[in-house]
Symmetry: D2
Amino acid sequence: MERRFRLVLACPDRVGIVAMVSNFISSHGGSISDANQHSDPSTGWFFMRVEIRAKSLSFSLEELKNAFAPIAQSFNMRWEIHDSERPKKVILMASRESHCLADLLYRYHEGELDCEIPCVISNHDDLRSMVEWHNIPYFHVPVDKANKAEHFSRVSELIHEHEADSVVLARYMQILPSDVCEQYQHRIINIHHSFLPSFAGAKPYHQAHERGVKLIGATCHYVTEDLDAGPIIDQDVIRISHQDQPEDMVRLGRDVEKTVLARGLRWHLQDRILVQGNKTVVFN
Amino acid sequence: MERRFRLVLACPDRVGIVAMVSNFISSHGGSISDANQHSDPSTGWFFMRVEIRAKSLSFSLEELKNAFAPIAQSFNMRWEIHDSERPKKVILMASRESHCLADLLYRYHEGELDCEIPCVISNHDDLRSMVEWHNIPYFHVPVDKANKAEHFSRVSELIHEHEADSVVLARYMQILPSDVCEQYQHRIINIHHSFLPSFAGAKPYHQAHERGVKLIGATCHYVTEDLDAGPIIDQDVIRISHQDQPEDMVRLGRDVEKTVLARGLRWHLQDRILVQGNKTVVFN
Amino acid sequence: MERRFRLVLACPDRVGIVAMVSNFISSHGGSISDANQHSDPSTGWFFMRVEIRAKSLSFSLEELKNAFAPIAQSFNMRWEIHDSERPKKVILMASRESHCLADLLYRYHEGELDCEIPCVISNHDDLRSMVEWHNIPYFHVPVDKANKAEHFSRVSELIHEHEADSVVLARYMQILPSDVCEQYQHRIINIHHSFLPSFAGAKPYHQAHERGVKLIGATCHYVTEDLDAGPIIDQDVIRISHQDQPEDMVRLGRDVEKTVLARGLRWHLQDRILVQGNKTVVFN
Amino acid sequence: MERRFRLVLACPDRVGIVAMVSNFISSHGGSISDANQHSDPSTGWFFMRVEIRAKSLSFSLEELKNAFAPIAQSFNMRWEIHDSERPKKVILMASRESHCLADLLYRYHEGELDCEIPCVISNHDDLRSMVEWHNIPYFHVPVDKANKAEHFSRVSELIHEHEADSVVLARYMQILPSDVCEQYQHRIINIHHSFLPSFAGAKPYHQAHERGVKLIGATCHYVTEDLDAGPIIDQDVIRISHQDQPEDMVRLGRDVEKTVLARGLRWHLQDRILVQGNKTVVFN
């Protein structure tokens, strides 16, 4: 894939934003390969994502940022420019359940996920061999009720050491401390095995079985301090019947969890997700 | 469609139920056109539905019931036998929103719903012309905060007068009194415009918009005393995006509500739904 | 809904199109409420749709067209500007099957379809009462093998007399003559009851049953001279099983046909569909 | 999972089959854990699958077969009884594309697929390391235009040597010789990357892109002599848009292929698929 610069921005809506941005780009010879806008009537905010073919510009990434800054300021934009050739560094965290981790590793292996994976962290040692087959370092950081603080301190350390841009909780079953959530705001992705807001918390498939729902689902969201309550990135469902016991739901749900998490991560890596309050704009 | 007797039963599971039932049928020359069983491992109950071609039996419906009663007793069955030529009498109740009512009337008109509709009851007069085009009596029973008791008394009266077997709340936005719920247990079907248990109660699409979910849904369930908490018959969802405002969700959701309600009612009319506690077994 | 002007355009891709168009709009104070672009790498073409809040411009529709024409010319654009307050005139054609017609009439009645329906034309008289309940004129134009030319001549006449912008074949089972197809290129919408290109032609549900597929579908497309081969607008499917006979497929398929046709027509009415060769770009 | 005997049968429909079969089972104290029947009105055939808890019978598998044979004969049944503790031996064949193979191996590893995998055969050596990580022998049997006969002779040999019950073509891109197809009738499963019968043959995603369809799919079917024309086991689809190029379809389609193939294989392993002519009855 040809190199791209990705400009994403959000600002109060008003006349002329698209004109100003597209003018800026075309005045420097920039060729736009993809563009999306969204005006949110309920908040009055405007969101935009533009992919520019890097070779059509004479700018470096830094020069592009400097040149765009005055425009951004005049419109009070929150904004970022990303370079497709500097893929994000994503640390995967898992526990004992392997399906989401195995799926992400496979997609990474096949080139579906444009990122680096500096390491995998788990509170169990079970998945080491699978991870190491992919030549990715595996850190086993055990946790129990007594050593939670120590565990998270080591986890934080590993995240910092590996200069992670983002963290994926691929069925990592621990609740992150709020300082980590804040520090990596909108950069920690979790997969929850229910169609949120139904069945937040523990054992959602058992809750679903108890209630007798006819579809089960999975939700990929950014992690916030509030358990399973962060901005939703994507969701999907699968049909079940009265024949399905909780263990069948666990099996059927795995396919939904894998797909939803992989899709959400892919969008995140391509800077397609803009967060507004507790909701997301996804330009997919 | 050829005449059928439909035997539905539930009892504690044990060896020989299917043999006993199918023997009983075949010993009288009965030809089975459809059969389903379900053993529920979590409760130890067994559920069965058998369709018998009526003309293969020399029995009348009453004789069939009498002949089957001893078997039923020996297995402690809850059971019913229905005659496909005595379609259920179903009263539809609506408020101002017409989509579910219009859809059911259309399907009835086309022969998709095997029932009689003795009348439609509404707390508004808006949908009279649509209903009367179908040659179905329309009863306008207004309701306000002051006359709730009177309203429900008149509604009950109409249900009794028309000898309704079942009632469908086709976006009838009032909460039925608990004595009506009890009297017509597992015979009042409601459509709720959310994917329950998410967003029970009022304005579910607005709740969904507020939470930022990526799919919206509808749930068809039997009405119990507890609002939106009865046994779920069917559910479905439709994908939305950040572009969809609550009014778009209302529009998109209508198609899901219509489909889910029609499917649930069809199964109910064909005696395909067996209730177990607060859950359903649906032989579809 | 507030008045909008909708600009849709297609031209060979090059640097600066979005800048030129958005500049043009903003230089006249135009406020953009919705915008989509698409660059097609396989053909090198660029497609765009912009909705402008009419009251933000001091232009009339005609003045807007005149002002935009030079830009359009310089980029070799195919383009149109539509006024949301001049809804399209759409003639519905049907045969005996009522489900698609009934569904469109209901949605029109509820305000979901922003169009005028000057009349319904059918080769049977069966659906007259349903149509006339909506206060829409109904023209019964019979057809048989002997009078095809006469039939189509009368149909063409009716289309002209009513100044139709578009025609919807809502399960109208006749093949239109090629001169009509050409004259209303990309303005005649058909619903075919299969997942094209599978099962084109007659009795697709029977073909599907014969082949033993596990999903059946429907396809909404613009009509061309080649039967069931025009540009596809939308498609959808529904799951079936070995239990479903052709008549069950007919019943189940109806829901898919209705939804797909209504969705395609809605997009057409909102000028969201751009045709490129035998394919469509749908900005939804 | 507790040991089960699975009886599957097909015969001309007549009164008393279920009674005879269930009587036979219950007269020996057999406890039925799952049962399905299907009467096909278009062919007049009857299909049945019964799971019996093995420990409820005093029979061995052989004794059970001997005891059932006279009943089977009197009803002209095609029938089989399988023992859940003798899982099928399934050889996987692949080429260079790894997604289906990796997915099946993962599910096998996790215990989702109740089978033995004696080996993997491929005409390339690319996937050796992935397969050997699972401790499964990998046979690289190259093929080119000149050595097809030799290739297939070696493949047949390997299938025989490993006493395979079934073969899965997990994106193995060669056409099997008809003698192999015949010898393993209804025991070779292929995944084709289109929604058959659309886009049979080579490069289906490119065909789909060319035609401009709005959904792409995958089909799992038993292999027959006729390319991509055997009895369909399962199908599914995924939505695409005008933005998706053939390479996007390849990526998106992989998820559908994997899911459909795994589901079909799982049903095959559980003896849930009965073939009737060129169609399948799937008791799932």
